[in-house]
């Protein structure tokens, strides 16, 4: 039975500095200091979430995409009972995560942004105790521990204290621990931050595998390619608000002129430029140097015939065409006027 998640008008205002380091958050929200009349002005107040509503369907991989400090980690914090919402409600399955914490905690597994492994224990002990917290029998947790250590290639370090592990090993260990009790919903906060490309691909495969077993996955990321490659649906979050949501394809096609065609000729006379601008669906043409041009258009492939025709007409040879599909980066730019990396 897969479990869905519902978030209704969630709001979070921090009145003391959140343990941002722990959550790994770059907490760069727009700080709104309350300047009440006659009151002391210095009161700390940071609005992290402003009326967020979402529906995450059972069994899907859902991504929260946004820059640092957008409110992704706060959303995960509330959904995993670790952050008290200021307003609104959140449900994991049928359980209100704030009011029925214990029932909600049974359903979820959490991979934090920064590994928060129990440094007093060895890798094996971390998994064994985690299983014990969730009431697994001794036999079951031993079997599962061996299985996960093997899967995450940690068997040869199983009896070492984790404090000496490398960053990548700690990250793998965090994921193994989150999967130990076989949770229905797996939360991953920036799972691939700091991983090398190879480990990242391995991680994606593990996430897809887990999802195929009917589990719901919620992940946050500020990498567009990750969101694109992994997620069934996405919400783009910025300054504590959801600014767009849907499948990656839907989101991308929602931007006008989302395609980018980079073309190269043997030379680029002005009349060819004019010819390119006149093609149907083209919104903008920029000339990079004297042989290449960037066309922003609402279509990709169907334009190629037109481009080739215009080149022939101008007596110019078309050398190269590259079509970039609408990207989430362009989408983010479109909605916020800022790049995701800002």
């Amino acid at each position: 039975m897969a479990i869905g998640i519902r978030i209704e008008h969630l709001r979070k205002v921090y009145d003391s500095p959140p343990p941002s380091a722990a959550r790994g958050g770059g907490f760069s929200f727009t700080a709104q200091r309350s300047a009440g009349k006659g009151e002391k002005k210095k009161k700390f107040e940071v609005v992290a979430l402003e009326d967020v509503s979402l529906e995450i369907r059972a069994g899907e991989i859902f991504g929260l995409l946004g820059p640092n400090g957008a409110g992704k980690s706060t959303t995960i914090g509330i959904l995993t009972t670790r952050t008290r919402p200021t307003g609104g409600r959140a449900f994991v399955g049928e359980f209100d995560v704030w009011k029925e914490q214990v029932s909600a905690k049974r359903l979820i597994g959490v991979v934090p942004q920064r590994p928060n492994l129990d440094f007093a224990l060895t890798a094996r002990e971390i998994l064994l105790f985690h299983g014990a917290y969730f009431g697994q029998s001794a036999r079951e947790r031993t079997r599962r521990t061996d299985e996960l250590l093997e899967k995450f290639k940690l068997t040869d370090r199983a009896d070492h204290m984790v404090r000496n592990f490398s960053g990548g090993m700690m990250q793998r260990m965090s994921i193994a621990r989150a999967m130990m009790h076989d949770p229905e919903v797996l939360f991953l906060d920036e799972p691939s931050a700091g991983l090398d490309p190879q480990t990242r691909l391995l991680l994606w495969e593990i996430i897809r595998d887990y999802n195929r077993a009917g589990k719901t996955i919620v992940l946050t990321t500020h990498y567009m390619d990750e969101a694109d490659a992994l997620c069934d649906r996405l919400a783009i979050i910025d300054h504590g608000r959801i600014i767009a949501q849907g499948t990656p394809r839907e989101l991308k096609s929602s931007i006008p002129g989302g395609y980018l065609l980079r073309v190269r000729f043997d030379r680029l006379p002005d009349d060819l430029m004019a010819g390119l601008r006149a093609l149907p669906g083209v919104t903008e043409v920029r000339s990079a140097d004297h042989i290449a041009a960037d066309l922003y258009a609402d279509r990709g492939g169907p334009l190629i015939a037109g481009i080739a025709g215009a080149a022939q007409e101008a007596g110019v040879t078309l050398c190269d065409v590259h079509i970039a599909e609408p990207s989430l980066e362009t989408l983010f730019l479109h909605h916020t006027g800022r790049s995701l990396r800002d």
Partner: protein
Amino acid sequence: MNWKTFFALLSRDGHVARRNLLPMLLQNLLQPLLLTFVFGRVLTASGMMRTGFKSVLLPGVMAISMVLSGIQAVAMPVIAEFQFTREIEDRLLAPIATAWLGVAKIVTGMVQALVAGLVVIPAAWLMMGSDISIDFSHPLTFAAICLLVALCSASGGLALGCSVGQTQIGLMFSLIVAPMMMFGCAYYPWSFLAPFPVLKWAVLINPLVYASEGLRGVLAPMVPHIDTLLVLVALVVIDAAFLALGLAKFGKKAVS
């Protein structure tokens, strides 16, 4: 109440405590034992102190050892686990109300305080040699006082650990723990403070006073001490207050 989870949390703390048992005992016992040796052996043997002082000292050293161990056994891990790395997060996600994690910490701290206290008796005996008289005629009262002192130090340790950051540990020891040791009536009976009327009443806010006087009352009843019944009442009140405070602070610290 989810007992399986609770016992798993306890067994994790027990596992870690066993691993650190020897260093912890050395840390908490060495200083009081050296003091015992100097005051109880060197000074009495030289005739500067009367032999009876040994019986004053033993319950006091036991009280110090218990209180110090209880505080440290809870406060230090709590400070470490809540700091930057948030090691405690995994246990906060265990399917049990967060307050029970605080309770598990207190139980572990109590066990360590009791071990540290009971170890003192044979150890001090060795240090101080003969002429020491211990009364064991009230085992139940003794047990009750030991348990209350252990609870007091462990829940106090939880409250302290949740209020102090990693960088303030040194300050915590010099501002809170050191004066507590000196004004805890561990090295002298409370009645000896009679010449200092203000101090005499001021030290009564120090839980160690009740620990020392209570243990003195049961182990060395011939030495002047505060009435045992009063000590028990005071310990119960302090325990309740520290427990409530510790769990409240823990609950607050656990969520953001």
